[in-house]
Symmetry: C2
Subunit: 428 residues, 2 copies
């Protein structure tokens, strides 16, 4: 049995679960992996905060650099999250020839390309299975099992908080504020939910997924994002009548013109496998010419599932360490070629509050037509002052659609463009 | 760019797809993987049979041993299927220090443990992602990503032919013979469907899945199997009324007493994620204490998806070859400890044709009671001569249930035990 000294950065939800398992299930893990992982340090920012794992106070330290530098540490696990000090510590470990396992999607989305180069140069691994989809194995399938496939589409429900909120809005008819409050009360949403509900968390994961799926590195800040804060219960109900479910979708598509990656509330056909992913579940859906359609679903967050993903990476890194090799990077990244978002075509669901006077529909249709946007279907609800037009357009470029929406907002016959939400389709 | 010479054994559906892609998509694969795979030979049994791939007649040979032995071949891909000559050729390649990629579930289920030892001894890889679930990445997630998890349950719909037949029986109310004939007409079932409908194909895959999930090698012939040939459309309809869907399920469960692996027609609760897997789709469902529930679904067969899985393994093996290392075996297997099937507990769905005379139900219930089998629910359909009793029992060991069924068959009040099908539950 070979022993590997481990330094863990972060003692929160995932770090706590991981440390507890490395201590309590030490024998089982050793039996299955052939490696005895010995935790040397758990680096935390606050030494006095109570921790969920064992009682050995000698493990805890607030000297984070020591966790990385200690010669007794051969493998560094970074579970702090955020760009700094995590980034500096990860880079320092890699440069010192120590493999790193991280669950930090923000760091990987922002600096993954550069850090993978550092790892490659040092001849060690930088593994990040836990950065996307929590406990769902997706990084390894994408970068290894599907390395021979020209993946055309990767779609994900990769943020459990927003999917939990949207599921409650859909199934219980709750409005956004109530659904958010319930998610916060149950621990599915944080006190400051901005990163989740604003799409930032999903955008980082979308960048990582697209990079691996298409072999083109996409940085987190290159991903168009839009959140769910302005979604109304009425649009969710209308969408259901039209045969759609609304999801916060991470969408990556490879086109002739380049790669397109975005995160936004999306009407998904109720027959699509992703439409039935409920609550805090995550799912990643892949499509390619040879493989057809694949879907991976499971718990997208939580200390225990995420710690399982981290452990899998640790065992991989440990085996490489013992064999004296590193398999990073698994993917050869090509220069990034992103489609200008203004050129990306989607169809839209629109809810317009209009005067129910003759000629309004004709004028509205004319404004779309002027910008080359064709209308797929129109429903009118109500009469008189409060009439509502529900419109689903055919696919049109963002630029044209935005111009049409501006014209509508300035047209006196339309009292409000009450909702404008994209509809998922294969065409881009 | 490094070049790796490839020898392919088998030019059928998967071998044909793979060869075509290695020839036609050579540049794309090289760009993504950093490896130029050069096909040196495609070994086939019949040189005159038309092939789906390119026209270079120099590639084809019926000298299978030469495909393995040629020094220009550094990587062997075995896609012939069956135990021999595949087994001898795979062993010969490994022993000569050549990594092998195979899609041969029969060979892996029968001799996987031994062949992995040969590979380990030779310091090369034996990879078999394509042996289970066709294009669905499951071997690598199980053996690497989830290496740190104590998986408790692995369930699979791993045979597309039977799932296609069962879906038609369920949704179109077809009987078994018609559904089989349609599947054969559409190419979803072979002229001799025995391996599929009898559960043999699924049993080989169940053995491989359970071996990797539990880290205990289970051979294919240790798996209890029962097919779908005797299933009636009426039982599928009755099951639906009771809230179940009937699937041919591969079931692996880890218990305190050991591992239990089996394949049989199973009533699955309609709310279970596997219940909605339709047609020729495959899906694998995993459960563990930390990970919760995971599901992987996609195309379980077909030349193109399976060739994608083979390609992923080839790229892995190629990288290891270039790095001069091998990561096989990924799992340390413990000695196998299987539960005696007679001790395995399940609940059962039973359909009994009975006389509708007073006392029959009491006698039937008494016979179950004598063997310690308790009845969960009973429905009676019809009256007089043709009365039908539908019974769902609580979980009871196979041994007891078999004895109760024998008693029932000998009881004159029961004219026929028309159906006896197991019901899936977490308890074993």
């Amino acid at each position: 049995m070979s022993t590997i000294g481990v330094g863990i950065l972060g003692g929160g939800t995932v770090g706590g679960s991981l440390t507890r398992r490395l201590l309590e299930e030490h024998e089982v893990i050793a039996l299955k992996s052939g490696i005895s992982f010995d935790v040397r340090h758990v680096g935390v920012r606050n030494l006095t905060k109570p921790r969920s794992f064992g009682s050995d106070p000698g493990l805890l330290t607030d000297d984070l650099q020591r966790v990385v530098d200690d010669p007794a540490v051969q493998l560094v696990v970074e579970l702090m999250g955020g760009l700094e000090p995590a980034g500096t510590l990860v880079e320092r470990a890699l440069a010192a020839g120590k493999p790193v396992v991280t669950a930090n999607k923000e760091l990987m989305a922002a600096r993954g390309f550069e850090l993978l180069k550092v790892a490659e140069k040092a001849g060690v691994s930088l593994l990040f299975e836990a950065a996307v989809g929590g406990g769902i194995p997706i990084i390894r399938p994408l970068s290894q099992s599907l390395a021979g496939e020209k993946i055309s589409t990767v779609l994900g429900i990769v943020n459990g908080t927003t999917n939990y909120i949207l599921t409650n809005m859909t199934e219980a008819g709750m409005d956004y504020a109530d659904a958010l409050a319930e998610a916060q009360a149950l621990g599915f949403a944080e006190a400051d939910p901005t990163a989740d509900v604003g799409g930032g968390d999903a955008a980082a994961k979308a960048a990582i997924l697209a990079s691996l799926a298409f072999g083109t590195w996409v940085a987190g800040d290159q991903v168009y994002r839009d959140g769910i804060e302005t979604l109304g219960a009425s649009d969710i109900a209308y969408a259901r009548q039209l045969g759609y479910v609304i999801k916060l979708l991470a969408i990556g598509q490879a086109t002739e013109r380049g790669v397109c990656v975005r995160v936004h509330a999306t009407l998904v056909d109720e027959g699509h496998p992703l439409a039935s992913v409920r609550g805090a579940q995550n799912a990643i859906f892949l499509e390619g010419p040879a493989i057809g359609q694949l879907m991976f679903s499971g718990p997208g967050a939580g200390g225990e599932p995420t710690a399982t993903a981290v452990l899998g990476d640790m065992i991989d890194a440990g085996r490489e360490l013992l064999a004296g090799t590193a398999a990073t990077p698994k993917v050869q990244f090509q220069p990034s070629r992103l489609v200008d978002f203004a050129e990306v075509s989607t169809s839209w669901y629109l809810r317009l509050e209009v005067d129910d006077s003759p000629g309004v529909l004709a004028t509205v249709a004319g404004m779309f037509g002027q910008h080359g946007v064709s209308i797929g279907s129109v429903w009118q609800e109500g009469r008189g002052d409060g009439a509502t037009l529900l419109i689903v357009t055919h696919a049109a470029p963002e630029r044209e659609m935005r111009a049409a929406l501006d014209d509508l907002a300035n047209y006196e016959g339309v009292s409000q463009v009450a909702a404008a939400i994209r509809v998922y389709s294969d065409d881009v």
